[in-house]
């Protein structure tokens, strides 16, 4: 990859040929000259130089030996920019993390934009720069992409789909149904931060907070954990639905019970306060830079130490264990010492009055 000028995303300036359009037109997705200009002056400079043989309909990868992890996710975030992140970082980190949750180190991502006609070109430019920055941080290339522009009203500003492939190291076998009685449950740090940051800017709920999204690529952390101990049983990034949903899904997939101590969940004061006044539970709130690891007891020390010495696992905590007492059911030991069932939230998490 050739050296190129690093662009400060928040001060992104539209390159000359795009400057005559301060908004995205239907034609920018039409496959003609306008599309080509968008690719040439925005995507290629941001995502890295064009491949040696020029732009083509597909990227050509050389995966080498072994197994690949392959994942896709679509990103619809409102607002597009929020404290500590944007749809751009989430679109990269989310798919990188999905790959990392199988133990994969990402090789390449694809990126599809669905843009609502009339989106400010500056907004698109900022998002693309933030994606590029996130990809650099994660050490993954955005190798292929596509842009469609739809009529005003047919999409909400900007939707992004990314897919990615990653290489899974030999000897790694990470999947939800490997959770086994006796295993230990670790969470990588403070929970609920991303959800609270996004909610604080949502119409009808808005509140002031210094909480910033924790959006981060976790492939580095996962690499360090696997270097320390290869036989990690389960990894999960507790995004929508939060820690509660992830644990419920694992318990159901593996047919095991999971029991954790509520007092051990790392909940920052501001997340607790936001949840208090909205009537929400921190364990149902989304995270974008945290993971849950389920590890056999003999690997716990190694995994935990590796996490604690990594920037994205510095707040790691053992929160509970896997058991065979209540298959498929997750329980929390409350602060008072009672046990209650933690259920999968039915749908969207909404503020309560009662």
């Amino acid at each position: 990859m050739s050296e190129r000028k690093r662009v400060e995303a928040m001060a992104w300036v539209c390159p000359v040929p795009l400057r005559q359009y301060d908004r995205v037109l239907l034609g920018h997705g039409g496959g003609g000259k306008l599309s080509a200009e968008l690719v040439e002056h925005l995507f290629v400079p941001a995502f890295g130089s064009a491949p040696e043989h020029g732009l083509h309909d597909s990227a050509v990868l050389e995966p080498g030996e072994g197994r690949l992890a392959f994942s896709t996710d679509s990103y619809v975030v409102r607002p597009l920019f929020f404290a500590g992140g944007s749809i751009g970082e989430i679109a990269v980190n989310g798919t990188v993390n999905d790959i990392a949750m199988s133990g994969g180190q990402p090789i390449a991502l694809s990126c599809g934009f669905i843009i609502e006609e009339g989106l400010a070109m500056d907004t698109l430019g900022r998002v693309v720069e933030l994606m590029a920055g996130a990809a650099r941080t994660a050490g993954v290339s955005i190798a292929t992409g596509d842009t469609k522009v739809v009529n005003r009203g047919a999409a909400d500003q900007l939707f992004i789909n990314t897919a990615g492939v990653g290489r899974i190291p030999d000897g790694v076998d990470i999947r939800p149904d490997r959770a086994s009685p006796g295993d230990v449950v670790i969470v990588s740090g403070e929970i609920g931060v991303h959800g609270v940051a996004v909610m604080s800017e949502r119409e009808g709920i808005e509140f002031g907070t210094r909480v910033r999204s924790d959006s981060a690529a976790l492939n580095g952390l996962v690499g360090a954990m696997l270097d320390a101990y290869l036989d990690i049983h389960v990894l999960r990034d507790p995004t929508r639905g939060g820690v509660a949903a992830s644990l419920c899904e694992i318990a159901a997939a593996a047919g095991v019970g999971i029991k954790f101590e509520e007092s051990l969940l790392p909940v920052p004061a501001e997340v607790a306060a936001a949840c208090s006044f909205l009537g929400l539970d921190p364990m149902n709130i989304a995270n974008e830079g945290k993971l849950i690891a389920i590890v056999p007891p003999e690997g716990v020390d190694d995994v935990l130490n590796a996490m604690l010495s990594h920037e994205h696992g510095a707040g790691a905590m053992v929160i509970g264990t896997v058991n065979d007492e209540h298959p498929g059911v997750v329980t929390a030991v409350t602060r008072l010492g009672a046990t209650r069932v933690v259920d999968l939230p039915l749908g969207e998490v909404l503020p309560r009055i009662c």
Binding site: S200, G208, V211, A269, E270, A273, I353
Partner: protein, 86 residues
């Protein structure tokens, strides 16, 4: 039935004839209406429900209640020791 939580008033202002405030819940700030607590002042704690301060918290009473719980704890301990019941 009625989710209401305590916060601290950090500023008070008049908005179109209605007394409004910014309240702080441990680092979370929110605009709320003070129409029902005309005498509350900056620094006071109030219970807030659906955007309204509905009751000023009586600090002395809160401390008294907590002290009563602590005394009860001491009493229980003594009973436990003298009674020898586990």
């Amino acid at each position: 039935m009625c989710l209401a939580v305590p916060g601290q008033i950090v500023d008070v202002r008049d908005e179109r004839g209605i007394r409004m405030a910014t309240i702080d819940f441990d680092g979370i700030s929110k605009d709320i209406c003070l129409a029902y607590l005309p005498d509350i002042e900056v620094g006071d704690y109030a219970i807030v429900h659906v955007g309204f301060a509905i009751s000023k918290i009586d600090e002395a009473s809160a401390l008294e209640t907590l002290q009563m719980f602590r005394d009860l704890g001491i009493l229980e301990e003594e009973l436990d020791v003298t009674g020898g019941v586990s």
